[in-house]
């Protein structure tokens, strides 16, 4: 048995449009349906958070 805690996922989720909404599948158990507006804002928020996380990694690299 593997007791490892969930790790950050390296595979992206797949977004697709269907009947005027956005479906987000994966990674793992993610299965969301979003309105176009909610999807767009989630997308912007994800990109912004990803840029911040990259900076944090760079700062941690500098500190080490």
């Amino acid at each position: 048995m593997n007791f490892s805690v969930p790790q950050p996922l390296s595979q992206p989720g797949i977004a697709s449009a269907e009947d005027g909404v956005v479906l987000l599948d994966g990674p793992n158990g993610v299965a969301l349906t979003l309105t176009p507006d909610a999807a767009a804002r989630t997308g912007h928020s994800l990109v912004s958070a990803a840029e911040m996380a990259e900076r944090q990694r760079a700062e941690q690299g500098d500190a080490n």
Partner: protein, 249 residues
């Protein structure tokens, strides 16, 4: 015989004739219920438990916005609110999905069974533990599987349970649920379920139409849904079906 499907095919706990007779004698009423009818309301004081003879039922919890999560499905043969015997109140609602026939057993009759027939009492306990095992599988399904996996896992589970009840031939069965029910079971929207069903159809794994399910390749569908039927505690030879199954509940 009302208890014909109770514990049928379950590993090592099928009822002995005298146990079945005792359980049959404990039934005080047979009730027919329309579809979409609440049987037990959360918080209601209960003095009886019920065995599902025909039809499909569900347990569900509504969120504060009234959106529903189905947390369990019951098939013929399930003693669906035996939990209410020790608990006396349930924390969720129970309702029919299709028209249903249920057998009512008073809790004081269960008291006597516990005192006089410990072997039967253990089997009743076993049936509630199967419910708990199914709940664990439903948690796994919602927590770890993607949309296609969730639907695949659920349909595989229903197939095996209905094979055990003699209501699936291992490939085809009447499920009596709508696509909205399926969405509420799998934590998906209707649009998402629509696409999943299209995917399963295009992959030639499964077709769900007018509440009838046809699973073309049970093994492949099980693989897609990471479904392992061990948690259902059904004998190996009662899992895969035969042509003698009846296809309507």
């Amino acid at each position: 015989m009302f208890t014909e499907r109770f514990l049928r095919g379950k590993r090592g706990v099928e009822l002995e004739p005298q146990e079945r007779a005792r359980l049959e004698a404990a039934i005080t009423e047979i009730r027919t219920v329309d579809s979409r009818t609440m049987i037990v309301r959360a918080g209601e004081r209960l003095r009886v438990s019920s065995l599902l003879i025909e039809g499909f039922m569900c347990r569900y919890i509504d969120d504060r916005n009234g959106l529903r999560q189905l947390v369990a499905m019951h098939v013929p043969g399930d003693f669906f609110d035996l939990h209410a015997y020790p608990l006396k109140v349930l924390d969720h609602d129970v309702a029919t999905i299709t028209p249903a026939t249920i057998a009512i057993v008073r809790h004081d009759a269960l008291d006597t069974i516990l005192e006089e027939m410990p072997g039967l009492a253990r089997k009743l306990w076993f049936s509630t533990l199967i419910d708990a095992a199914i709940h664990r599988a439903w948690l796994f399904r919602l927590g770890r599987l993607d949309a296609v996996g969730r639907v695949a896992h659920f349909l595989c589970e229903m197939n095996v349970r209905l094979v055990s009840a003699g209501l699936s031939d291992g490939h085809r069965f009447a499920l009596g649920i709508t696509q909205t029910d399926l969405a509420e079971i799998c934590g998906l929207t209707n649009v998402h379920v629509n696409r999943v069903m299209r995917h399963l159809r295009e992959e030639r794994l499964c077709v769900f139409r007018s509440s009838l399910v046809e699973i073309t390749h049970p093994d492949k569908l099980a693989e897609r849904g990471q479904f392992d039927p061990d948690y259902l505690y059904i004998e190996q030879d009662c899992r895969s079906g035969s042509s003698s199954a009846r296809l309507s509940p």
